[in-house]
Symmetry: C2
DNA sequence: AATATCCAGGATATGTAATGTCCTGGATAG
DNA sequence: CTATCCAGGACATTACATATCCTGGATATT
């Protein structure tokens, strides 16, 4: 039930890329900006790329760049790109095993337990989708100085 | 990000205990009702017990019994008893590491990222708390026959 | 064309937490 | 006193996230 660290990495990397100003930035620069393991961060960036949040350009002076402005990226986009979209409650059908499973008729129709869990999860995703990275950046930003620092750190 | 299987086990065990009619039921009976590993289920039951959802009576003819009716038990109660109440988004403070960490001033005030995640998580818990086991039992129950079967399986 | 740089992605460790097992001790009914 | 059952600590096992490495392909530069 703990969220992958990659989500935090991806969030800050996306925010940094926005500060960087559009040009592609290499994955190793992005990694050392926060002291992250470069090869692993690279994999996460690949996932973001497959999800359509990032574009990658190979070759010298290549790297990753944002495909859309921050106000078009929600927290849900990032979480789904990193964590996948599998349900957190995954049923093992224990009701059909053991004594009760043998004695009971095979259950029919949709499962109420699963339904209730899915409703809760849906409202979680909804709340995630209601937050854009632009809003978060606005609360996080502490002035133009920070932009300079980040651009310098990404050289 | 996957929920522990113990949640499913606990849910069905609580529902079964309700069917059983109030008297304490041994953990091994509860386990074989669904073909679950008895010693491990026992640990989960201990957690439910510590959370106040179950009462345990030692000695012969002992076992576990519900402490309150199903309509006073929410999904959140069960999830929290099994999974604990730790946040799913746990920050590693990467913003303070690496180049950016060294160059930037130490961030002040509450973290907007964390806040947004917490809001989403809160709305998840809220949805879980809105569902009682009694409601789920009502949708799950397929008639008085099932009650008989479960009571028989728990002998 | 040759070269240096950088991403893509598979194969493979390593670490950590969930899952599963075992055993000892304490409580209680008979 | 004894048989039964829970409490809980100490492991073993498994699954998964985390981390590393290496090969190949793309591209800008020379
Ligand atoms: S009743 Fe629902 S949660 Fe329980 S085993 Fe069946 S499908 Fe899974
Ligand atoms: S900005 Fe927030 S999420 Fe990012 S490292 Fe700091 S506390 Fe954690």
């Amino acid at each position: 039930m703990r969220m992958a660290k990659g989500v935090e990495w991806a969030l800050h990397t996306l925010l940094n890329l926005d500060m960087a100003g559009g040009g592609p930035v290499g994955s190793s620069q992005l990694a050392q900006a926060h002291g992250l393991p470069a090869p692993y961060l690279n994999k996460q960036l690949q996932q973001l790329s497959r999800a359509g949040l990032l574009a990658s350009t190979p070759g010298p002076r290549g790297g990753f760049s944002l495909t859309r402005p921050l106000d078009a990226i929600t927290l849900l986009d990032v979480v789904q790109a990193i964590e996948g979209d599998a349900d957190m409650f995954q049923c093992t059908e224990i009701r059909c095993c053991g004594r009760i499973g043998e004695l009971s008729p095979r259950p029919t129709g949709p499962c109420p337990v699963k339904n209730a869990m899915s409703r809760a999860e849906a409202s979680w995703r909804e709340a995630l989708a209601a937050q854009t990275l632009a809003e978060i950046k606005a609360e996080l930003d502490t002035g133009p100085v920070v932009g300079e620092i980040i651009r310098a750190a990404l050289r």
